[in-house]
Subunit: 109 residues, 2 copies
DNA sequence: AAAATTAATCGTAATATCACGATATAATTA
DNA sequence: TAATTATATCGTGATATTACGATTAATTTT
């Protein structure tokens, strides 16, 4: 982002932005859909499902993990990724709270 | 994003990613909070509330407008920004559908 | 009409993101 | 043990984002 001023904003705004950022690319949305529907969770299978290289998928998985939305379990040579249900629900609740804040009534313009 | 492959993904994934991207910066979250709570809607007032320059705020407003979440009404020399309630609710519904897709039950890892 | 206010846009610098191939590392199989 | 398989990481190029000051264009005020 180039010299971002994230630190000038509150914890809540940053937390919400962090979740949103994790969802801000269709590949990551697609990955989360696969995990959510348990159609695939082994890294290699996810790679097979997407039109991206192994290294790119690995990078997206890393971002999702850093946002806290998924976790990776090492199973021998393979890695099984799963949605972190607790964080997942926390993200949903936080996003909903944000959207519910819309105050209807007298329009200002 | 450099040579992004968004087009390789479905309309739904891209739509969701578009909304998420709009929320992916704390400044835009802050702006939406101001609009939602009707604390400010005149561009200049929004600028006064944020630790960013006028041109930067204007750029963020443009992105929110392009995502469809807000609209701007010209009022003489000033511009009043408002949340587009229809699109706002559409975004909330779509995000919720996405989060609700999580299938619980037997863990895969 | 001239000066001031308001907001968008332009140009640009710094940094982040996306994507890939190549390589490294670790586990499995032959 | 050697070869194979699975995944992460490194290095890099292309593009996007964030931020700002300066400028522009349009209104409003003086």
């Amino acid at each position: 982002m180039g010299v971002t001023k994230s630190h000038e904003f509150g914890v809540k705004e940053n937390q919400l932005a962090k979740y949103a950022k994790a969802l801000a690319h269709p590949a990551r949305v697609a990955i989360l859909n696969l995990l959510a529907k348990r159609k695939a969770c082994i890294c290699g299978d996810i790679v097979d499902e997407l039109p991206l290289s192994q290294s790119t998928v690995s990078q997206h998985l890393k971002e999702l993990k850093e946002a806290g939305l998924i976790k990776g379990d090492i199973e021998g040579a393979k890695v099984c990724y799963c949605i972190d249900e607790k964080e997942w629900k926390a993200a949903q609740v936080q996003l909903n709270k944000f959207f519910d804040n819309l105050q209807s009534g007298a329009k200002c313009c």
